[in-house]
């Protein structure tokens, strides 16, 4: 089976080659190679436990925090090896931001949630600039109008959908190049989900976006590229329209038509 995905057209933001991840004895990711395009929303789909979240977390080295995880292979961000010894993980994670499955705002004020990243990276020269960054990030996350009068309220007091958009604003605030989203809508109701999808649509082009989702329709709606994972391998990767209308692999076809998964 051909494990090497075709290079994405347009500018390539991230390149993964022969990536293997082991959790202790478990071989979680098997020899995956993929190119992530700059202008695209790339969706990772696949049944539970297929390794799509694990692979997503290798893209900003969040797997480093797991004690027995082991990485092999090569991942590049703009041609720079992110697993090189001289790569600073902290800066990498600022450049490759992440939004998690469950909204996880800090138990601080809305303002502090967004301002935290710029503050620790020293991105704002003063209070005025910080205010600007916070407003801009909240606007881009489509949350500004809803929270502008209560920036000092706790971030955890917002509704689930608002919390998730706050988390996106928090990721945007440090001006990342890539945003990784790990099932960002799985804990949200349909209306909140629609808002997030709209937001992803708006953010496309400004940031390279990779989204893991269980929801076929969502993948079809928001992404231009889709990668189908199964049992730790990358089965098929291509234009979303092709994957959903004309999959090359039977496993892909079975999955997207709901035969299993």
């Amino acid at each position: 089976m051909d494990q090497t995905a075709p290079a994405a057209p347009g500018t390539t933001k991230m390149i993964a080659r022969d990536v293997n991840v082991y959790y202790g004895e478990t071989h979680a990711i098997k020899n995956i190679s993929i190119d992530i395009g700059q202008e695209h929303v790339t969706a990772f789909i696949g049944p539970s436990g297929c390794g799509k979240s694990t692979f997503l977390r290798t893209l900003n080295r969040m797997n480093d925090t797991i004690d027995n995880a082991r990485f092999e292979g090569r991942i590049e961000l703009d041609g720079e090896d992110i697993y090189a010894p001289d790569m600073d993980v902290v800066q990498l994670r600022a450049r490759v931001g992440m939004v998690f499955q469950k909204p996880n705002p800090f138990p601080k004020s809305i303002f502090e949630n967004v301002a935290y990243g710029p503050r620790i990276h020293g991105l704002a020269a003063g209070k005025a600039e910080l205010d600007q960054i916070v407003e801009r990030s909240l606007r881009r996350a489509g949350l500004w109008e809803e929270v502008k009068d209560r920036l000092q309220d706790s971030g955890t007091a917002l509704s689930g959908g608002q919390q998730q958009r706050l988390c996106i604003a928090r990721a945007i605030a440090v001006d990342p190049e890539v945003i990784l989203m790990d099932e960002p809508c799985s804990a949200l109701d349909p209306i909140a989900t629609a808002k997030i999808e709209e937001l992803i649509h708006d953010l496309r082009g400004r940031y390279a976006i990779v989204i893991v989702t269980h929801n076929m329709q969502q993948a079809a709606r928001v992404s231009q590229k889709t990668a189908f994972f199964h049992l730790g391998t990358l089965v098929e990767y291509g234009d979303t329209s092709d994957i959903f209308t004309n999959p090359r692999e039977t496993r892909t076809k079975d999955y997207i038509t709901g035969r299993y998964g």
């Binding site: 900003n60 969040m62 925090t65 004690d67 902290v90 800066q91 990498l92 994670r93 600022a94 450049r95 931001g97 992440m98 939004v99 998690f100 469950k102 996880n104 705002p105 800090f106 138990p107 601080k108 935290y116 990243g117 620790i120 990276h121 706790s154 955890t156 988390c167 928090r170 990721a171 605030a173 440090v174």
Partner: protein
């Protein structure tokens, strides 16, 4: 297990929810729930009862310890017999002059003049201290005839407080009644109890020495155990790899928390006194010893509090590029702090009430002055209580209870501060 063919094929009769069997089951369930609730209620009321009994005993026995019985003493502060001049009192050496003056004899003579040969039995041994203090406070009294209220002897004090044994009543009952009839007896607040240190005479003892000793000891304990404990907990939870060594450390810490306190006293004796030659009976040594004892408690509580901080918060911070240290100090520690403080209160409360290790390092010595610093000889509240409870003189009974009240008040104040801090940190989120 094989199921007979017909039971599978047979249709089951519908469950009889109102049948006798079901009603019996229901009754039994209600009965056991009622019994459980009563048991719980009983347990809570029993402990409340014990607590009330304890408090009532302490307060009823101890509150008279804060009072003292005084007798009127008309005294002429004659410069000649006192061998004092007003110029001496005005100068900077007033204390020395007062110390060399024979105030004790003059006081006793004054008492003899009015109460006859009984005077020794009436006045407290330390009555002269009150004369001295009056003179020190107001040097113009020299040469004047004044009426002073000075404490009575322990026996008369007991009679006044209705705590005398029959023997005491036989010995001194008559004296007390005649003084009382003359209106020469009064009850006043025992300010000395709150300002002085230990003494051999129960009418002269004070709790301040032991209180200050405890305060200094606790200060050393807190300053050492809190930061070291919290940092250890943070390191073990957030940084240390999980391997055999950290398992070993965890087991050791859990065991240390269960080690009897007197062992820590022996350790303090061996290490701090015999090896490091720190001063005996000093709050610094007491604090070090108690810090060793408190440390495992804080580490265990701290680790649990840190563990209960949701991992999603760590992910969130790491995900926007916070370093490990920033994650720990910006997010994990503030969220864990209320739990850590709770553990610290428990550890400190235990340390405050600890007697045995302090006995081992010499803090049971008789010390008649409040400690001046961390290396000065001192005693601590629980040790003082232990010492007074051991005294033969009956006057110490109420002082022991009064000291217990002071200890409990100290404990309550400490917990109050900790609860205030905890709420303050919890409100921030």
């Amino acid at each position: 297990m094989a199921v007979p063919e017909q039971t599978v094929t047979q249709r089951r009769a519908p469950t009889d929810w109102r049948g006798e069997k079901m009603r019996g089951r229901l009754r039994r369930r209600y009965r056991s729930e009622r019994a459980f609730r009563l048991l719980g209620l009983g347990a809570v009321s029993l402990s409340a009862l014990f607590l009330a009994f304890l408090l009532w005993t302490m307060v009823s026995n101890g509150f008279t310890g804060f009072l003292q019985t005084e007798v009127r003493l008309p005294i002429r502060l004659d410069p000649v017999t006192l061998q004092l001049s007003s110029s001496q009192l005005a100068g900077g050496n007033a204390d020395q002059a007062l110390a060399s003056a024979d105030i004790e004899a003059v006081t006793l003579q004054a008492a003899r003049n009015i109460y006859g040969e009984n005077a020794r039995q009436i006045l407290s041994e330390g009555a002269w201290i009150y004369v001295r203090d009056a003179l020190k406070a107001d040097p113009t009294l020299l040469g004047q005839q004044i009426d002073l209220w000075v404490p009575v002897s322990s026996e008369l004090d007991l009679i006044a407080k209705d705590r005398a044994t029959p023997e005491i009543l036989v010995r001194a009952g008559e004296t007390y009644r005649s003084l009382d009839q003359q209106g020469a007896i009064r009850t006043a607040l025992n300010t000395r109890f709150l300002t002085a240190a230990d003494s051999t005479d129960p009418t002269l003892v004070g709790i301040w020495g032991a209180f200050k000793g405890s305060l200094l000891t606790m200060l050393v304990t807190l300053v050492l155990a809190f930061p070291v404990g919290v940092l250890s907990a943070l390191y073990l939870e957030e940084y240390a790899p999980k391997n055999r060594w950290t398992d070993l450390i965890e087991v050791s810490i859990n065991n240390l928390a269960a080690v009897p306190s007197i062992i820590f006293g022996l350790l303090g004796l061996a290490v701090f006194l015999n090896v490091m030659h720190l001063p005996r009976s000093a709050p610094i040594v007491g604090g070090l010893t108690l810090a060793l004892m408190t440390l495992p408690v804080i580490v265990i509580a701290g680790r649990n509090a840190i563990k209960s901080v949701p991992p999603s918060i760590r992910d969130a911070a790491l995900g926007i590029g916070a370093s490990r240290v920033q994650v720990v100090f910006h997010h994990v520690l503030p969220l864990a702090l209320p739990g850590i403080l709770t553990g610290t209160i428990i550890g400190m409360a235990r340390a405050l009430g600890e007697t045995a290790p302090l006995l081992m390092i010499g803090m049971r010595a008789f010390i008649s002055a409040a400690p001046e610093g961390l290396t000065a000889p001192a005693t601590a509240l629980p040790v003082q209580i232990f010492l007074w409870s051991d005294e033969v003189s009956r006057g110490f009974v109420e002082k022991t209870s009064a000291a217990i009240i002071v200890l409990l008040a100290f404990l309550l104040a400490m917990n109050g501060v900790a609860i205030y801090l905890r709420n303050k940190f919890e409100r921030r989120w």
